[in-house]
């Protein structure tokens, strides 16, 4: 009788012990971190490039013996649509197991979700969205950004086209905050330089037929068509310009810096302008290292324009967790005092809005089906000329 | 004498076809009129025009002296005219009780507040009508009274006819339009049905009936008077025995022109 009791006792004791072990083992070194980007839809190449880069950062960290925790990357798709973004952001932020995230390529989605991250106290680092308001509209401790904003981008853009002697510009922008932002900042800086906006057209980001707008543009007969929007409609607008025999220069933003733009247009892409904050990946301090590691993973997508930023963002998150442990509040505190932190994109310094200050802007022009830096292009050297260039 | 229902020069066309051609027809209270004639002679069309399903292209219809030519179907029902359909038109998924209650529309409180909030009062009204419907259908088929809340879908033709007639009778109309009650039923079934109808009529003396029928035996047995239509025109009128021997009528039926 008593033996049975003792055995039972022993049995339960071991059971408890084992259970406890398992639980602690579970709780200990597995840490979840998140990534959100557009994995489907027109800009998915950028999203997948970013996803791969973030994944790369996690892989390298897990391979690193010195790492205290083992990391698991939770990936969600915002489809570059605000409504979807809000759903997935809520999903990620609401999941207490996920400590922090590198989120959003599209400004429209980032600006829609910042309040949610704040509401749930979920620390994030934006890796691609360029709208200033994302960091500057509110002063959320949770929200940071490694890439620069669209302001400087548009200054440089306006500078270049007026330097090239273009005076009249028609603006076509998508009506998300991204497109509106670009329109606002570009118009401002162009006005400073005495350029003239002959017409402004807002279009929805899933519009198919632009012949109506473009016919009006054609009547205005501008030298340049400035496009504040993303690759998919950029492609449509450029090709329909051709349909209507509009010869103006196609002047894009960071939103069209992706291979999809060139693939979508073929020869028509030639001579399109685009601008992006930060140096092109090859020229980054850690660019070489990053590209090698990325190549080693044999992803079938290139990292695209913002892959390096995504990697840097995720790396920063992992650093912080390693330092202060898997605790959202502590991570937020830690990110607050990031200063002159070395990374593959150069030194990162978050200002009081969590914004990394990136001065450098890269100008691109499409030449022979490639985004070539303006300075190295035959357009700069004068070998080729943009349409209507004097 | 005053007529219950009176049609004057009633005309209705469908494209080129003239379904009712300048028809005069008067119905005296409490009689049973047989409306006969070959297929396509305009009998059903007459019902449809009277009940406001089709508008008239000419002429007029008065019920108890009031002109109802252009009145909507529901006004005509409210005035006290109700009918059955040639092809039985019950709501098959609904219960026997529900189908009968559809015919009782004008006597049910249709207020939103009453129906949704005052459930106590509603329950009382429901019970009163339940008993009414039950007693009515018992006249026709006691077994149906036991199955009041079963869907109509499963029932045989004769039962459906009975229910349809109860639906027409429950609101105690002044005029009942029966459109080929015998359609799709055996001779005996039809006879049975007619006896039941007459029984109801005995309970409610001021019920007038216009019946469209091909079963001449039936017509002979129950009608006080017959009106014979052909090509939308009235070709004979009078007691059955009289019209039955009328040359024109026989020609119409034999199709001799």
């Amino acid at each position: 009788m008593s033996r049975i009791v003792r055995q039972l006792g022993l049995f339960f004791a071991t059971a408890l012990f084992v259970g406890a072990l398992v639980v602690t083992a579970q709780a200990k070194d597995k840490v979840k971190v998140g990534f959100i980007g557009p994995l489907t839809g027109g800009v998915s190449v950028n999203g997948i490039g970013g996803r791969n880069s973030a994944e790369l950062a996690v892989k390298l960290r897990n391979a690193d013996a010195k790492a205290t925790y083992e990391y698991e990357l939770v990936v969600l798709d915002d489809e570059c649509k605000p409504n979807v973004a809000v759903q997935v952001a809520t999903k990620m932020a609401a999941d207490k197991e996920i400590i922090a995230g590198a989120t959003h390529y599209c400004s429209a989605t980032a600006i829609a979700t910042v309040d949610i991250y704040h509401k749930f106290g979920f620390p994030i680092i934006v890796w691609g969205a360029v709208l200033p308001d994302i960091t500057y509209r509110n002063k959320y401790a949770e929200v940071h950004r490694v890439n620069g904003t669209m302001i400087d981008q548009n200054d440089v853009n306006a500078e270049l086209i007026s330097k090239l002697g273009f005076k009249t510009v028609a603006v076509i922008h998508d009506t998300t905050d991204y497109g509106k932002g670009h329109n606002a900042y570009f118009s401002k800086s162009l006005a400073k330089l005495g350029g003239k906006i002959v017409g402004t057209f807002g279009v929805t980001s899933d519009q198919q037929d632009f012949t109506a707008e473009l016919t009006q543009v054609k009547a205005l007969n501008p030298e340049v068509i400035y496009f504040g929007g993303l690759t998919p409609i950029g492609v449509r607008i450029r090709s329909q310009m051709d349909k209507l025999g509009i010869k103006a220069v196609f002047d894009g933003t960071s939103g069209i810096v992706s291979d999809a733009f060139i693939q979508g247009l073929g020869p028509l892409a030639e001579g399109a302008l685009a601008f992006r904050e930060g140096a092109s990946t090859e020229k980054l301090p850690g660019g070489k290292f990053f590209l090698e590691k990325y190549a080693a993973q044999k992803y079938d997508n290139p990292p695209e324009a913002y892959g390096a930023f995504s990697y840097a963002a995720m790396d920063l998150i992992l650093d912080s967790i390693e330092k202060v442990g898997p605790d959202r509040r502590k991570v937020i505190a830690e990110l607050a005092n990031v200063k002159d932190r070395d990374s593959i994109i150069g030194k990162i310094t978050f200002d009081d809005h969590g914004q990394n200050t990136v001065a450098l802007i890269t100008k691109y022009v499409v030449q022979d089906a490639k985004f070539v830096e303006w300075e190295d292009s035959e357009y700069a050297s004068g070998k080729r000329k943009l349409s209507g260039q004097k | 004498m005053t007529y219950l229902l009176e049609a004057r020069g009633l005309t209705r066309r469908f494209g080129g076809v003239v379904a009712l051609d300048n028809l005069d027809l008067a119905v005296v209270p409490n009689e049973i009129i047989g409306l006969i004639g070959p297929n396509g002679s305009g009998k059903t069309t007459f019902f449809n025009v009277v009940t406001g399903i089709y508008g008239a292209h000419g002429g007029s219809v008065t019920f108890e002296g009031a002109d109802i030519t252009r009145a909507p179907s529901r006004a005509i029902y409210n005035a006290g005219v109700s009918r059955t359909f040639q092809r039985s038109r019950l709501s098959l998924p609904l219960s026997i009780f529900d189908n009968i209650m559809i015919g009782n529309h004008k006597r049910l409180n249709q207020g939103l507040w009453f129906n949704l909030v005052r459930r106590g009062q509603f329950k009382r009204e429901f019970e009163v009508n339940y008993v009414a419907a039950r007693t009515l259908i018992e006249v026709f088929e006691p077994q149906l009274a036991e199955r009041m809340l079963e869907p109509v879908a499963g029932l045989p033709m004769i039962d459906r006819r009975r229910i349809e007639i109860c639906r027409a009778l429950i609101s105690q109309p002044k005029l009942l339009l029966l459109d080929e009650p015998s359609a799709g039923m055996t001779h005996d079934e039809t006879k049975e049905l007619m006896d039941d109808i007459l029984q109801v009529r005995d309970l409610n003396r001021n019920l007038t009936i216009v019946i469209v029928e091909h079963e001449m035996g039936l017509i002979e047995r129950i009608t006080d008077r017959c009106v014979v239509l052909n090509f939308g025109r009235k070709i004979a009128e009078g007691p059955y025995r009289q019209v039955a021997v009328d040359r024109q009528v026989q020609e119409a039926y034999l199709g001799v022109e």
Binding site: K81, P82, N83, V84, V86, T90, K91, A94, A108, I111, A112, D115, I116, K119, T175, T176, D177, K180, G202, T204, S205 | T51, G52, I53, P72, S73, R74, Y77, N78, F85, R89, S91, L92, P93, L94, S95, D98, M101, I102, G103, H105, L108, N109, Q110, L112, N115, L116, R119, F122, K123, F126, E127, Y130, R134, E146, M148, L149, E150, P151, R167
Partner: protein, 387 residues
């Protein structure tokens, strides 16, 4: 006394057991994360239901639900609260739960129009959206008390809906279908191009707060921290119960009868004095009001509205729920909403495939079980156990 009132009344037990089982099952399903487990659970669920069906255990259940609805509804509410309590600090599960409740409310509204009066409405999501946008605008620019905002949301949906009344009443069949489809597209495009309402960017919606109690803050009961979504759970639950009772009473009244009669045979109905227009309008306006109400609350729950949330495709999801559950049966609507919304959430593997899944389900249902999972029983005005 009519004999309906004297039938031997069905035992309440089978229903209770069913509720208990489904509660336990739901908790388990919502709790597990690992995909294999989830799939296992789902498989088990399907097998269990089929087994119960072949053992004829479902009939007593449905009978006790039919005749002891009052009691069992109480149990069902209790069950819902148990589930909520179990996940009291799990934001995500509660959000999902609330979403299900509000979609159920909206679909009940659709059921009045579509299931009873037979008025086609392929713009359900649009009216849902009108409600949501109402709360977005009012909460941002005005200080209107939020409970009132809900009512305004419903009213607005009903009003804007009544702009369609003329075409809806005049057209029949496919022509009628076009009216609402066109409206759905029209509204979405309008919201997208219209800057005042945020364009494609959408708008943030301030959370609900009643008498200073802010719904968007977590709170504590005793020492236990509660998710702020519990506030919304309670509100949505109340809304669902009210709507359910409303729909039930509507069906079990002369009005319900009128609507059925009109749906099944307009000509015959008008021959028995029914005013077709009056009842269609009643159904359409009432239905849209309910949908808008749910939408207004959902706007505050989600905290964000954008045109893309209220597309034609979303309207189709509501219709699918209705068909899957069994047109005209409120219980069916509730069950189907759970299936349609929870399944893709749990099966991460099929997240991508959810629209495909919905569509296939509906096709199969239409082909092999056109009545839906829980076909609507024949009307009983006063089933036993319910005054």
């Amino acid at each position: 006394m009519p004999e309906v009132m004297q039938e031997p009344q069905a035992p309440v037990l089978p229903g209770v057991v069913a509720v208990a089982f489904s509660t336990a099952y739901l908790i388990a399903l919502l709790a597990v994360e690992m995909q294999p487990l989830v799939i296992g659970l789902l498989a088990f669920g399907i097998v269990a239901v089929l087994a119960a069906h072949y053992m004829d255990w479902l009939d007593p259940v449905s009978r006790s639900f039919a005749e002891r609805e009052g009691v069992l509804s109480a149990y069902a509410i209790l069950a819902a609260c148990v589930v909520a309590a179990f996940f009291h600090d799990n934001h995500f599960v509660l959000l999902l739960f609330v979403t299900v409740l509000l979609y159920a409310v909206a679909t009940l509204g659709l059921n009045i129009e579509f299931g009873y009066a037979g008025v086609l409405n392929f713009a359900g999501a649009s009216f849902f959206g009108i409600g949501a946008y109402t709360s977005a605008v009012l909460n941002t620019y005005t200080a209107v008390p939020h409970l009132l905002v809900l009512l305004i949301g419903g009213t607005l949906a009903a009003l804007i809906g009544s702009l369609l009344l003329l075409p809806v009443l005049r057209t029949r069949g496919h022509y009628a279908a076009l009216v609402t489809i066109a409206f759905a597209l029209l509204l979405k495009t309008f919201l997208e191009v219209n800057d005042v309402l945020g364009g494609p960017q959408g708008m943030q919606v301030k959370g609900m707060s009643i008498l200073g109690w802010s719904f968007n803050d977590n709170f504590e009961i005793g020492k236990i921290e509660m998710s702020f979504y519990l506030n919304y759970f309670v509100t949505s639950m109340l809304l669902l119960c009210t709507t359910f009772v409303l729909v039930r009473r509507l069906e079990r009244s002369w009005i319900g009868l009128n609507l059925d009669a009109i749906r099944l045979d307009e000509t015959a109905a008008s021959c028995f004095g029914l005013d077709i227009a009056r009842w269609k309008i009643t159904a359409f306006v009432l239905g849209n009001f309910v949908i808008g109400l749910a939408g207004a609350l959902f706007g505050m729950v989600g905290g964000f509205v954008a045109p893309n949330n209220y597309t034609f495709a979303d309207s189709l999801i509501m219709v699918s729920i209705l068909l899957l559950g069994g047109i005209g049966n409120p219980w069916g609507v509730v069950v189907a909403t759970f299936i349609v919304l929870v399944l893709p959430e749990k099966l991460q593997t099929i997240q991508e495939y959810r629209f495909l899944l919905y569509a296939l389900i509906v096709i199969v249902v239409l082909l092999f079980r056109p009545e839906g999972l829980l076909p609507r029983p024949v009307r009983r005005y006063f089933p036993r156990g319910r005054a």
